[in-house]
């Protein structure tokens, strides 16, 4: 059972800290920092299922987040569904979309797949920018009334924060559960040698399509909450290629393949990025610095921070997964 793993409890403790910290003294600015970190962790953890577990680079991972935001906002505001229901429906819809796309493009191996994911992102962005129902390139805006079901805008901000923290915890638990399952072993086999995995009886096409689809669900749910909180969505924000790539930087920085690696990388990178963006001298160079960081990690420390930590304290592998 998953709750026997010590790391499961560590995840719950982390989530509890996230919930408790801003409550202390009603600290709104801390809450806004933590929400960005939580989103980063959600994206990096789910990306880890593809890159770290299966060995397939997804350059367009953000498409799930943006598309989830669109479907969820549309359901919640235009159709008037309750927020959580809208988010779950968005998650399911985006997962289904990913499954269908996955079955088509996952016939491609390795680098070809990576290129196709760039294409998926651009194609979806082109589609949404021309889609009348979702406001074309101007996007959708929420009116103030949209927050009434949650008891006004002030309370809605706190509610969405908690919901996002829950999604963050679920992302990490999902990664942990997959890592310790037969399904996870199949994915690792694909990563190490796909042909050998086929010979051993792993149905690689189905496995890859499922993991692609699963990695879409929670980012889509988080996308709904986040864009609902922001009160607006448009194609250039929802499908920002840069954010997709920053997800990859986070993952490599923290250490691909480890649950804690994804979370650590997501948290640290987001912290670094916000401090760079707010410093007047360095704000223009945050891309340069993250690019340099990525290059150094790829060339000299492919295991990332967590890989280094495992080397120093080999026993930690058992506890921090």
């Amino acid at each position: 059972m998953i709750c026997r793993r010590p790391f499961f409890w560590i995840i719950l403790i982390i989530a509890a800290l996230f919930i408790y910290a801003p409550l202390h003294g009603n600290n709104v600015s801390l809450r806004e920092d933590l929400i960005l970190i939580a989103i980063a962790i959600i994206l990096a953890s789910n990306l880890n299922l593809m890159i770290g577990y299966t060995g397939y680079v997804n350059f367009g991972h953000i498409v799930f987040y943006g598309l989830g935001g669109y479907v969820g906002l549309y359901m919640a505001t235009v159709r008037g569904w309750p927020l959580v229901v809208a988010a779950l429906v968005a998650g399911l819809a985006v997962s289904l979309f990913a499954l269908l796309f996955g079955l088509a493009i996952l016939r491609l191996r390795g680098a070809y797949f990576a290129l196709a994911t760039i294409g998926v992102l651009q194609a979806v962005q082109a589609f949404v920018s021309n889609f009348d129902l979702w406001g074309r390139s101007t996007g959708m805006y929420l009116s103030f009334d949209a927050y009434q079901p949650l008891g006004g805008a002030m309370r809605a901000l706190w509610v969405t924060y908690y919901l996002i923290i829950v999604v963050m915890a679920l992302s990490m638990i999902l990664s942990l559960a997959i890592k310790n399952s037969k399904f996870g072993l199949g994915l690792f086999a694909i990563r190490e040698d796909e042909d050998a995995a086929i010979v051993l009886g792993v149905n690689t096409t189905v496995y890859k399509a499922i993991v692609y689809s699963v990695s879409a669900f929670l980012p889509a749910v988080a996308g709904t909450f986040m864009f609902y909180k922001n009160g607006m969505i448009d194609p250039s924000i929802a499908f920002e290629f840069m954010m997709s790539l920053e997800g990859i930087v986070m993952l490599m920085l923290g250490g691909q393949g480890a649950v804690m690696g994804a979370a650590l990388g997501g948290g640290l990178y987001e912290k670094l990025r916000s401090s760079l963006l707010t410093s007047p001298k360095l704000s223009n160079f945050h891309l340069v610095i993250s690019g340099g960081l990525l290059l150094l990690v790829v060339l000299f420390a492919p295991g990332g921070l967590i890989g280094w930590f495992y080397r120093v304290v080999p026993r930690a592998r058992k506890v921090i997964e």
Binding site: G55, A104, A111, L245, V298, P302
Partner: protein, 286 residues
């Protein structure tokens, strides 16, 4: 109807430039099995290199292609040693990420210098007018330049010792090394040429359309589509496939909004990958 014809001819001319861009990507991919994700940013740098040179020497912009090409070659060698050399032969994930990291750095520096506002190279050649339609001189000159450079590359690859060495390394690196070819030197040169081609095509694009530091990404996607259509390691095939893509864009633009084009290109990309994994020109050894 003649409007469509004119649009097709225009597409054909621009397509030659797409082909040239794709040749750079295809060469690097074929020789060292590295998908060069700096491609887009190198195209953008080519655009700005042309912009800066044209600002200093106000002459025929097409004469400035030579210095752009030289700069591209040098930059390519630097990028190779910085990010690619250590990851050649390792899992593709690594080279994808390392070239991507360089891409981020270039875009970051470029944005800091030029912001993301549009620039253009203010140079135009007299056009040719047929009936109600005028084909601008720049489109014609750019297409001619692209074809000439493509032919020169073809000659280089098939007629010179270095070119043959590049093809040998692409075919079988170990066997080439046993024959006394230094694969490190060959890979460096091939990468340099690939980047030079990307930069040159960027310089050509800069004489046709306004551009920003982010414009490279569009042409990078087109290059991928063209490379896949042509099949790997067939630089001249890339030129032909590029012309085809330009033709297709020319045919569809009179009928649909330009913002749909990425969707069409992506559809083509996936269909080509799934239906013709060896490229539309079939399997043929280079």
């Amino acid at each position: 109807m003649s409007g469509v014809l004119a649009s097709m001819i225009d597409g054909l001319l621009v397509g030659a430039v797409y082909g040239l861009a794709a040749m750079g990507l295809s060469l690097i991919w074929g020789v060292m099995d590295v998908i060069n994700l700096t491609h887009g940013s190198m195209i953008a740098l080519g655009m700005f290199c042309m912009y800066l040179l044209f600002g200093v020497f106000v002459t025929n912009a097409y004469l400035l292609l030579l210095p752009v090409m030289g700069a591209g070659l040098l930059l390519g060698i630097v990028v190779y040693w910085m990010s690619v050399h250590r990851v050649v032969g390792r899992p593709m994930l690594m080279s994808l990420l390392s070239t991507f990291a360089v891409n981020m750095m270039v875009i970051g520096i470029g944005t800091a210098i030029w912001s993301t506002s549009p620039y253009n190279v203010n140079f135009s050649l007299p056009g040719i007018t047929i009936g109600a339609y005028t084909f601008t001189g720049n489109h014609i000159a750019a297409a001619i330049a692209a074809v000439v450079i493509a032919l020169a590359l073809q000659l280089f690859l098939y007629r010179t010792r270095t070119g043959k060495a590049i093809r040998a390394v692409a075919d079988n690196r170990e066997a080439a090394e046993l024959m006394g070819i230094s694969s490190t030197v060959v890979l460096t040169i091939a990468f340099g040429i690939g980047i030079a081609l990307a930069g040159t095509s960027g310089a050509l694009v800069s004489t046709l359309f306004p551009f920003t530091i982010l414009s490279g990404a569009t042409y990078q996607l087109k290059s991928f589509v063209v490379t896949i259509l042509a099949g790997l390691g067939k630089p001249f095939g890339a030129l032909v496939a590029g012309v085809l893509l330009g033709l297709l864009e020319g045919v569809v633009t009179p009928f649909i909004a330009v913002s749909w084009i990425p969707l069409i290109e992506f559809g083509l990309f996936v269909v080509a990958l799934v239906a013709f994994p060896q490229g539309i020109f079939g399997r043929e050894t280079t």
